[in-house]
């Protein structure tokens, strides 16, 4: 078994006539946090959506555990252990926190494990426990983001893809969210593919970094090297 759990080769994607992501190779190794940095419009979200199956890639391959999954329905990916936390409010705003979490475990075959999973998540984010009955849309931005991550963890995914979890959060909350992500990675061994703009908070938790610019990968390597690369750092 190779070290890579999720891999893309020559992945390209876009909307309509507009090609946004070109020829991207990424490798997410088991148990690591791969941080994909890039600015607005660099194609980060498009790339994540193409990997997860929300968008059909126009070219290239995606392999999960050595198996090709490009263009497959998101539901199949979820069922096999990939979770996705979309940008912004990745929750159901009209439903309660509890319902949201239950829905996060929608594909779980063994429903009896729901309460146990929920407890795990409450341990990670105690605030959600307090607010079980509250309607999602009325939570604060940070709480919503925690709920979104909690939902993604419900079915014990092996890979979690996060699309800019820091967006719209106050700096102190960004830190809190990043620490939670690191903790998830540490305590559950979940491999994490995360897209970010906020270098300051995300870089410290990353095992490896890729940089996207105008839809192409321009850097791939350890975070330390990136910090040393003045030209690259100037991007941010």
């Amino acid at each position: 078994m190779s070290a890579a759990i999720l891999e893309t080769r020559g992945l390209a994607a876009g909307y309509g006539k507009k090609q946004i992501v070109h020829d991207v190779d990424l490798t997410l190794d088991r148990g690591e946090i791969l941080l994909v940095l890039g600015h607005n419009g660099a194609g980060k979200t498009t790339l994540m959506r193409a990997i997860f199956g929300l968008l059909k890639p126009t070219a290239g391959e995606v392999t999960y555990d050595g198996k090709p999954i490009a263009g497959r329905a998101p539901g199949d990916n979820v069922a096999e252990g990939i979770a996705f936390v979309p940008q912004g409010h990745g929750i159901f705003r009209t439903l309660s926190v509890r319902d949201n979490l239950e829905l996060g475990g929608f594909i779980m075959a063994d429903k009896t494990r729901l309460p146990e999973r929920m407890q795990t998540i409450f341990k990670l984010f105690p605030i959600l426990d307090e607010r079980q009955q509250q309607i999602g849309g009325t939570l604060s931005g940070g709480q919503q983001q925690m709920l979104a991550i909690g939902m993604a963890l419900m079915h014990e995914p092996r890979v979690v893809i996060l699309d800019e979890p820091s967006i719209g959060l106050a700096p102190n909350l960004v830190d809190r969210v990043m620490q939670s992500i690191a903790e998830i990675n540490r305590s559950f061994g979940t491999s994490i593919l995360m897209v970010e703009q906020n270098v300051r908070y995300s870089l410290p938790i990353a095992s490896r970094v890729a940089v996207l610019k105008a839809g192409r990968k321009i850097y791939d390597g350890p975070p330390a090297h990136l910090q040393d690369d003045v030209e690259l750092m100037k991007l941010f």
């Binding site: 929300l54 979820v78 159901f92 319902d99 996060g104 929608f106 594909i107 939902m151």
Partner: protein, 289 residues
């Protein structure tokens, strides 16, 4: 005063009918965002299916109702699968889908008229019970309309809130993309709501058959009033559809107390006009951005 009491009861009865129509239509609309005009002829088809089951096959009326619901559900699912889904996959604009739905409306309504003839259909020998409570009249079918509304919306409410499929429907209504992200097959959910929404329409359809008989064109009014009830009550809310339907029934009935009856068919639209102007999100709606 007797008249007022009677009109109040009439409003409640008709409102229940509208509410039930609104619940079925609204479930489909809120979840799939399809303005499903063909809901009208499917409602009609359900009435004829019930007629066929009761009159030709000689089944008891409750069984005929179930049969009608099954027919409607199948028609609804077929409509989604072979009409709307291809448009959805082709990423057509909602207006294109709307026109296609109207095309199907024309097709189905005329097909029904060809198959069953253009005259009215009643179940031979069926006689509903009549209640005269003091000055107030209502029939067993009308009582059935109210009970059906209460029971079915309650059941639907429980189904949505408590079951796995129900929650999948709520999730898809709330945020279809998020639903896909957590592994819900939204196409399956759409099929499910078309089945449930259409099956629901069979109940008011059968009751209208019992009350007044069926005609091939009965679906037009049904889908219109359903649409209006949903908008007045607020899209995406079961409570809203019920409230919208009841409000329409009440206003229509009590309004006609003083307004000449030739305005009957316009009252609902005047209410709609005012509600949307003053409260665009509907009585119970949340603002959808």
């Amino acid at each position: 005063m007797d008249l007022f009491a009677q009109l109040f009861v009439n409003g409640l009865i008709n409102g229940s009918h509208y509410a039930l129509l609104g619940v079925g239509f609204g479930l489909i609309f809120a979840t799939t965002r399809i303005v499903h005009f063909a809901y009208g002829p499917i409602f009609t088809a359900a009435a004829y299916a019930a007629w066929f089951a009761a009159n030709v096959l000689g089944l008891p009326i409750p069984v005929a109702m179930v049969f009608a619901a099954a027919v409607a559900a199948v028609l609804g699912v077929i409509t989604y699968q072979y009409l709307y889904l291809p448009f959805e996959r082709g990423q057509s604009s909602s207006h294109v889908t709307l026109i296609a739905s109207l095309g199907l409306f024309i097709v189905l309504e005329n097909l029904i008229a060809i198959i069953f003839g253009t005259g009215g259909r009643v179940i031979d020998g069926y006689q509903y019970g009549i209640f005269l409570v003091g000055p107030i009249y209502f029939s067993s079918v009308q009582l059935g309309q109210v009970i059906a509304m209460v029971v079915l919306t309650a059941l639907l409410g429980v189904y949505l809130a408590r079951t796995r499929h129900g929650k999948a429907i709520l999730a898809t209504t709330d945020n279809p993309e998020m639903a896909r992200i957590i592994g819900i097959d939204t196409v399956k959910v759409s099929r499910l709501v078309f089945a449930i929404g259409s099956a629901l329409s069979a109940i008011p359809a059968t009751l209208i058959l019992l009350k007044d008989g069926a005609t091939p064109s009965m679906g037009f009014f049904a889908v219109f009033i359903a649409f209006v009830a949903v908008i007045v009550g607020g899209v995406g809310s079961l409570r809203g559809a019920v409230a919208g339907g009841l409000a329409l029934g009440m206003v229509e009935s009590l309004g006609l107390w003083k307004i000449p009856t030739e305005w009957q068919s316009s009252i609902a639209f005047i209410v709609l006009f005012l509600v949307v102007l003053l409260r665009p999100q509907g009585l119970f709606g949340r603002t959808v951005s």
